[in-house]
């Protein structure tokens, strides 16, 4: 998935979250603590959700947002079994094109992952 200003704008419209951190305004580089517009955190999870096909309830996900996703970032989601006794539990990481982990988390009860 590649983040674009258009994707961020559409997600802001959908959710009503027009936080100025997400706005592609001319002075974003100076007013944002990130030096420019960033994506909504939930947008960074979009690839993860598309990996869940015919999911079974209940399902639980926990994540931490480590770094922002920016317009132009190409995101890759990496899923790995936890190796623990709970069948189907996976850790996941969302990486940008530079290999930087921007989200990390755990999906529980995910034996239905494709």
């Amino acid at each position: 998935m590649t983040l674009t200003e258009d994707t961020i704008r559409k997600y802001a419209e959908l959710t009503g979250d027009h936080n100025s951190l997400h706005a592609a305004q001319e002075n974003a580089a100076t007013i944002s603590p990130f030096g420019g517009p960033v994506a909504h955190g939930f947008l960074l999870l979009a690839d993860l959700l598309t990996n869940l096909a015919d999911y079974r309830m209940p399902l639980r996900m926990r994540c931490r947002f480590l770094s922002p996703g920016r317009p132009g970032d190409r995101l890759t989601t990496v899923l790995q079994p936890t190796g623990e006794a709970h069948d189907g539990d996976h850790t996941f990481s969302v990486l940008n094109q530079d290999g930087v982990t921007i989200v990390t988390g755990v999906l529980y009860d995910t034996s239905q992952l494709r």
Partner: protein, 131 residues
């Protein structure tokens, strides 16, 4: 707020806001269009709608200052939801505190129920709260 001590509670815990959402095919289409995502689960509600419900409820409350940053999130999808349906999402503050480096951290909680009262979704969210 510089005089607030490390670890102090800032905001009273409790319910802040409740929002009704009619989850329709139109909403699902807008969601899929926004995320460029094909719908893959028949008549069921896509998992990512949970985040839409949380954000819409939070924004509808109008209490979050501009500049809030999400640090973490947990979602529990408890039961499948068919579309269309009417869901009620309740937003509450679970905890708030000042971190050791002076940042305000607020834990928000969301509960989403069917019109029958059945709990279908819970979410918690850690937010860096602007001063």
């Amino acid at each position: 707020m510089a005089d607030i001590a490390d670890g102090a509670t800032l905001l009273p815990s409790g319910v802040l806001h409740t929002r009704l959402e009619y989850v329709t095919e139109e909403l699902i289409e807008k969601y899929c269009e926004a995320l460029d995502e094909a719908r893959s689960n028949g008549r069921g509600m896509p998992l990512g709608i949970a985040f839409v419900l949380a954000l819409r409820t939070l924004m509808d409350w109008h209490g979050l200052p501009d500049g809030g940053i999400m640090l973490g999130h947990e979602a529990n999808w408890i039961a499948s939801v068919s579309v269309p349906c009417c869901l009620r999402t309740t937003l509450a503050i679970a905890a708030s505190r000042v971190s050791s480096n002076g940042l305000i951290i607020v834990d928000l909680g969301y509960e989403t129920r069917m019109s029958t009262g059945e709990l279908v979704l819970t979410q918690t969210q850690k937010v860096l709260w602007p001063r």
